[in-house]
C-alpha cells in the first residue's frame, strides 16, 4: 500500500529504514523537509538516532564524518550547503568513512537561485563520493537504503550521495511504497566499524598525515574502492529487486531495444522524456528511439553504457546536462559519455551532441525531448552538428533555426552551416495528446492548498490511481498567489510524472485571483473543463463576465468555502475546497475517499470532515444566493415589493372635476 510522500519525506524514510544513528543537519532549501521529518521522528521517539543541530553544513559534514567512523550517519543538503561541505567530504572519501547524503539538487549561483539543476552535484564530482541520481521519491528511498549497502561494503567503504531534482522531485507528492523495516533489516545489515574509536583496548588514529609515497598508494586504493562501487551497485540493485520487487541498475533504458536515436540524462527530468519517448516510439518515419536515464553517475559505468549503446545500434546520442562544466569542452555528463564511447567503441560508437537545459529551475518538458530526438535524427542522417553544447529555450540561440535573420549575424556566421542543414521535423514535434487528467489550484500562500491537494492525492492513490502533486515553490511571502498541480494517471502499467499543462479542473481558492493580471486562470483549461471558485458573493455569471469566458465550453462552479469554514470555526478553507473538488471532478469517487480522509485530515478531524462534506454539497454551478451567515434576510417577495400607498393616482370626484374639464 503506497503512502503519499514528497521526495524529501521519502528520503527521510530512507534514512529511517536504514537505521541511521547520527543525523546532523543544517537547513537549506529544497532539502530541509527531510531533516525536519527526521527531527520530528527523533523528538517524538519514533526513530532512535542522535540528531545534531549543526551551525553550518561544514560542521554537519564534519559530524557525519566523525560519527560515521563509529555508527551509521547521514545528512541532507543542497546547493551552497553542499559546496560548503565538499571541503570536509573529501576527508570522508579519503578517510574511508561510509556515511550518506541526500541532496535536493539546486542551482549554485550567483545569481542566487533556489530552484533545481545539477550544479551542486557536478561540483562534488571530484570529492570521491558515490553519486546516485534518483528520478522520484520511491527511487530516492530505495537508493538511500542501497546506498548504505554499497558504501559499507568492505570493498568500498566510501560516502555516497543520493540526488533528487529540487522541487519537481523533493516537493512532489506521490505514492511511495515504504518497505517493511524487518525486510530492510535483512537487506541492510547493522553498521560495523572496522576500526572503532571507542575501543580502549585498541586505540586508533584517523586522519594521519601522509607523505608522498604512502599518499599516492592510499589514493590509488581509494580510486579502486570507488571503482568497486560500480559492480557493488549492480549487485545491491539486484538483491534489492529480489527482496522488494523494484529493480535498479546503473541506468534505465526506456524505449526501443534497437534505437538509432538516444537521449541520455540524469534523474527526474526523465519523467518528461519518458512521455516524449513513448509518444515517438513506433511512429511512422521515426527510427527506434530510447531514453538513457543514467542512475549511477560516480563511479561512471562507462563500459556498461558503451555496451548498451552498441547493442542498440545507436547512431546518434544527444546528452542533456542540467549543469555546466565551466571552461570544459563538454558538460560533465556529455563529457563522461563521450569519453566512454571513445574508449570502448572507438569510431564505431554513436555521434554525441550535447544539450544544456533545465538550469535554475527551468522546466525540461516533453517538447524539449521531441526537439532532442529530432536533433539526434538530423545527426544520424549525417548532417553536421555543433561540437559545443546546444541550449534549450534560449530564444537567440535555438536548436533549430528556420531563417537566417532569426539569430544574430555573429551566431549565424558561426553555426549557419549547421543550422542550414538541420531541420525541425513535424513528425518529431507534433503535439502530444494528453493522456492524463490534471488539476491546477491557484491559491494564496498560507491557505492550505497543498494540504488539500496532498489529501486528494492520498485518496486517489488509495483508490488505485497514480497521482502526483507538485506545488509551485518560491520565495513568496504569505499571501502571494501560488499554484499547486495534481496529475492523475490512469495507466497503471506506466509511470507518468510529467504534466502536459492541459487542465481538467482549475481551482481558485480566492476570488480575487480572478483579477490578477499575472495569472490567466483560463490558460490551459481544457475544452469542457471546469473552473471552481471559492466565493461568497460572485455569481457564476459575474465570474464568466470577469474572465470573458464567452462561448467557450467551460463549466464554472462556485463554492462558499469561506462561509463553510467560518461556520465550522475552521481557520482554513482547504477542507471545504477539497470536498468541492470531489464534486467538480468525480473520477476519484467521493464515497471511498471519505474513508481515507477520516484517518488523514488535519485536526480538528470532525470539523475538517464536516467541511469536506459541506464543501461537496454546497458546490454548484447555479447562481448562488447571497450567503451571509444566519443574519441573511429571508423575506417574502411581497414584503420586498411593498411601497407606501400612492394617493396621487386615485381619482377625486369633486376636487379634480375642474381639472379634468379644463
Amino acid at each position: 500500500m503506497a503512502t503519499v510522500l514528497a521526495g524529501n519525506g521519502a528520503a527521510a524514510w530512507g534514512f529511517r529504514l536504514s537505521r541511521v544513528q547520527c543525523y546532523p543537519y543544517y537547513p537549506i532549501t529544497p532539502s530541509t523537509a527531510c531533516s525536519e521529518q527526521i527531527s520530528r521522528w527523533v523528538h517524538d521517539g519514533a526513530m532512535e538516532a542522535v540528531t545534531i543541530n549543526a551551525e553550518s553544513e561544514h560542521s554537519a559534514a564534519s559530524q557525519i564524518i566523525a560519527a560515521g567512523k563509529s555508527v551509521r550517519a547521514g545528512t541532507a543538503t543542497s546547493s551552497k550547503g553542499l559546496l560548503y561541505m565538499i571541503e570536509v567530504l573529501e576527508n570522508a572519501a579519503g578517510g574511508g568513512v561510509p556515511c550518506g547524503l541526500f541532496l535536493g539538487n539546486r542551482a549554485t549561483g550567483a545569481p542566487i537561485n533556489i530552484w533545481a539543476d545539477n550544479s551542486d552535484a557536478y561540483a562534488m564530482r571530484d570529492s570521491g563520493v558515490i553519486q546516485i541520481f534518483a528520478a522520484d521519491g520511491q527511487e530516492t528511498l530505495d537508493s538511500i537504503i542501497q546506498g548504505y549497502r554499497i558504501a559499507e561494503n568492505l570493498r568500498v567503504r566510501l560516502p555516497f550521495a543520493v540526488n533528487l531534482r529540487g522541487f519537481t522531485g523533493t516537493h512532489a507528492y506521490e505514492g511511495v511504497e515504504i518497505p517493511r523495516p524487518e525486510e530492510v533489516n535483512r537487506y541492510l545489515p547493522p553498521f560495523v566499524s572496522l576500526h572503532p574509536l571507542f575501543a580502549p583496548e585498541k586505540p586508533v588514529t584517523y586522519g594521519a598525515m601522509l607523505s608522498a609515497y604512502p599518499y599516492r598508494r592510499h589514493k590509488r586504493n581509494q580510486m579502486a574502492a570507488l571503482s568497486n562501487a560500480c559492480e557493488i551497485t549492480l549487485k545491491a540493485g539486484q538483491e534489492f529487486a529480489e527482496k522488494f520487487g523494484r529493480s535498479y541498475g546503473h541506468f534505465e533504458w526506456i524505449g526501443d531495444k534497437k534505437a538509432d536515436l538516444v537521449v541520455a540524462l540524469l534523474g527526474e527530468s526523465a519523467s518528461a522524456g519518458e512521455v516524449a519517448t513513448r509518444h515517438l516510439q513506433g511512429k511512422k518515419g521515426i527510427p527506434g528511439v530510447a531514453l538513457l536515464k543514467i542512475r549511477l553517475f560516480s563511479p561512471f559505468p562507462a563500459k556498461e553504457i558503451a555496451q548498451a549503446l552498441h547493442r542498440a545500434g545507436t547512431k546518434a546520442l544527444v546528452v542533456l546536462d542540467e549543469g555546466l562544466h565551466h571552461g570544459g569542452v563538454l558538460p560533465p555528463l556529455a563529457q563522461r559519455l563521450t569519453t566512454a564511447i571513445q574508449l570502448y567503441l572507438g569510431g564505431k560508437g554513436p555521434k554525441v551532441a550535447s544539450v544544456i537545459g533545465g538550469l535554475g529551475g527551468s522546466e525540461v518538458r516533453q517538447e524539449h525531448f521531441q526537439l532532442m530526438f529530432n536533433l539526434a535524427d538530423n545527426i544520424a542522417e549525417g548532417n553536421p552538428y555543433r561540437p559545443e553544447p546546444y541550449w534549450l529555450d534560449i530564444e537567440e540561440d535555438p536548436i533549430f533555426v528556420e531563417r537566417e535573420n532569426q539569430v544574430s549575424p555573429k551566431l549565424w556566421r558561426k553555426w549557419g552551416e549547421v543550422w542550414k542543414k538541420q531541420q525541425r521535423k513535424e513528425k518529431f514535434c507534433s503535439p502530444i495528446p494528453p493522456d492524463t487528467n490534471e488539476i491546477r489550484i491557484y491559491s494564496r500562500a498560507g491557505q492550505g492548498a497543498i494540504t488539500s491537494a496532498v489529501g486528494f492525492t492520498g485518496a486517489g492513490i488509495q483508490n488505485g490511481y497514480q497521482l502526483l502533486t507538485v506545488p509551485a515553490f518560491g520565495s513568496e511571502r504569505r499571501g502571494a498567489i501560488i499554484t499547486t498541480d495534481t496529475l492523475l494517471n490512469f495507466h497503471n502499467e506506466r509511470r507518468i510524472r510529467s504534466f502536459m499543462r492541459a487542465w481538467d479542473v482549475v481551482i481558485l481558492y480566492d476570488d480575487t485571483i480572478l483579477y490578477s493580471p499575472e495569472h490567466q486562470v483560463l490558460d490551459g483549461l481544457k475544452e469542457g473543463g471546469a473552473l471552481l471558485v471559492n466565493t461568497s458573493h460572485l455569481s457564476v455569471k459575474k465570474i464568466r463576465e470577469i474572465l470573458n469566458v464567452g462561448q467557450k465550453k467551460v463549466r464554472v462552479l462556485t463554492v462558499p468555502a469561506e462561509a463553510v469554514s467560518e461556520r465550522l470555526g475552521l481557520k482554513h478553507i482547504n477542507m471545504a475546497m477539497l470536498g468541492a473538488l470531489h464534486k467538480v471532478y468525480d473520477k476519484v469517487p467521493f464515497e471511498p475517499a471519505q474513508g481515507y480522509y477520516e484517518k488523514n485530515v488535519p485536526r480538528p478531524r470532525e470539523k475538517s470532515l464536516e467541511a469536506i462534506r459541506l464543501g461537496f454539497s454546497e458546490t454548484s454551478d447555479r447562481e448562488i444566493q447571497r450567503t451571509r451567515k444566519e443574519s441573511r434576510l429571508t423575506v417574502s417577495q411581497e414584503f420586498r415589493d411593498w411601497r407606501p400607498e400612492d394617493h396621487s393616482q386615485e381619482s377625486w370626484p369633486s376636487a379634480l372635476e375642474e381639472v379634468q374639464l379644463g
Partner: protein, 588 residues
Amino acid sequence: MHPDLVLRIAGESGEGVITIGETLCKIAAREGIHIVTFRTFPAEIKGGACMIQVRLSERRIRYHGERLDFLICLNQEALDENLPDLKEDGVLLCEAECDLSGEPPGLTVYRVPFERIATREIGSRISKNIVVLGTLSHLLGLPKNKIEAFISQRFARKGKAVLDHNLDALQRGINFAEQHLDKKDSYKLPKGGEQKKLLMTGNEAIALGAAASGLKYFFGYPITPASEIMEWLAVHLPKVGGAVLQTEDEIAAICSVAGASWAGGRSMTSTSGPGLSLMSETIGLLSMAEIPAVIVDSQRGGPSTGMPTKTEQSDLLLALYGSHGDATRVVLAPISVSDCFRVTALAFALAEKYQLPVIVLVDQALSARLETVDPQLVERLPQGSRLCVEPGDGNQFARYRLTESEVSPAALPGTLGGEHMVTGMEHDELGNFACDEETHTAMTVKRFRKLAAIENDPLAQDLCVRWGDKEAEIGIVTWGSSAGPVEEAVAVAKNLGISAQAIVPKILNPLPHEELKAFLGKVKRVIVPELNFLGQLATLLRSTYRIPTIGLTKVKGVPLEPSEIVEKIVEASATLNVRSRKLYGRAG
C-alpha cells in the same frame, strides 16, 4: 355685556407690560375665563416696542382676536403703533402725556399720568405697571383683593419692603382711577365658568406633557423661541428623577438624546429651525438605527437666522424630509396649548412604540402664548412603550429582527444576552453592516412599513379637527397654530352666508389619509392657509393627492388673521360656478 374682550397692553420692553398682561390672565383664569394671548418680543433684550394681547372669553377659543376692544398704551410710540388695530368704538387707556391729535372720534379715551404717579408719588419708575393694574382694576372691574393676593404671591419672596411698595402702587392706581376716571364704556371682564382654569404657555405645556409622559433626560441648546422648554425642565425634571443638560450645540443635544434613548431612558430635545437643520443628520441615524426620540421644533422666521422672535410655519418640509436618504420619522403639529400637552405625550408614545424619531412642530406664536387649559388635561394620556425583551437564550440577539408588526424587540444595554450593534450603516437583522441590495431593500421596507402601521394605530386616530358645515363645498386645510384663525374665519363666513368647512390634521407624517380623502372628496375648492411663503402644506397636499389648491400664505412674522381667510373664502365661493383651471393654476 360682551362675551369676548380683546385687550392689548403696549409699551416699551422693560416697562412691565407683560407683567400686566400675565397678572390679568392669571386672575381671569382663576375666575374660569378662557384666555388666549399673543405677544411680540423685541429683538433687543431691553428697550424696543413690546406688547401683549389678551383675549378673554366665556367660551373655548383658539385665537387671540383680531380687532382690539381695549388698548392700553404706556407711551407715544406704542400708541402710534397700535392705535390702528383698535375698533372704531374701542377703549383707549393711555399715558396722559400722549398726543392724540389724529384720534378717531368714536373712541372712549382714558388718560392717566402713569409715569408721574410712578416717579413722583411712588418714587419708582418700575412700579408703573402696578399703577396701570390698579387703574385697570377700576375700569374692568377686577376685584382688588384678587390683584392684591396675586401681587403678594408674586413679590412675597422679595421681602416685605418690595411687597408693600407694590401694594402702595396698586392702591395709588386704584385711587387715581376712582378719583379721575368715569367709566364711560361697557367693557367688563367676561363671565367665568365654574371651573378654574390653568394658565400656561405652549412651551410650558410641551415641557409638562413631556414630564407627564415619563421624560427622563433632556438635552438641549438654547434657542429662541424654544429655550423655555429647557428652562422649565431644568427646574422641574430633576424633581422627578430626571436630568437636563445644556450641551455645546444641537448636534450634541440630539446625539446625547440618541445615546440616552438607546440606553433606555425617555429622552427629548427642543430647538428651532436652525437647530433642526443641524440635527438633520442625526435624525437619519435615529431612523436608521431605530431609536426613539422626541424633537420639538418651535418654528420662527427663516431661513438661516431669520427672525428669531417672529412666528412662521416654514419648517414643515424640513421636518418631513430633512436628512439624506429615505429617513422615516413622524411629524406632529399641535394646534393649541392644551394640544401641545397631549401631542407631546402622543409623540413619546409613538416614538417608543415604533422606535423612530418624532418631530413636534409648533411655532413661536404657539410657544409663547399663554392659554387657559383644563386641569383634566393629564387624564387619559396616550400611552406607548418600547417593546423590550430579555433574550438570554445564548443566541446572538437580533436587534433588527423582521417581525409581523415591523417593530423589532429591543434589548436595553445591560440586559443579559442582548449584546448587539446599533448602527447608522445599513445592517442585517443582527446589526452587522450589510450593503447588499436585498438587505437594503428589506430594511428600508421595514422602516417605512412602521409608518403605514402608525396610520392604523389607535393612538393616531382622531387626529383631525373639523369645523363648519360637513356638506360645504369650500374646504380649508391648515395646520398648527393657524387652526385658530381658520376656526374664527369659518364662523365669520357662516355669518356672511358662505358655507365653508375646515380640517386640521395634527399628524403630518404619515398623513391621516382616510380623513383627508373623505374631506377632499367632498369639497370643490381647497384653501390652504399657512404661515410660509412656499405653501409647504399645499405642496404636500398637491403632490400627495394631485389636487389644485388655493394658497393663502403669509410671511409677516405674525399669525394669520381671520379676515384674511374670510377674504379667500369669499373669493373661492365666487369661483364655485366658473369652470376654468386657470384660476387655480398658481400654487400657494
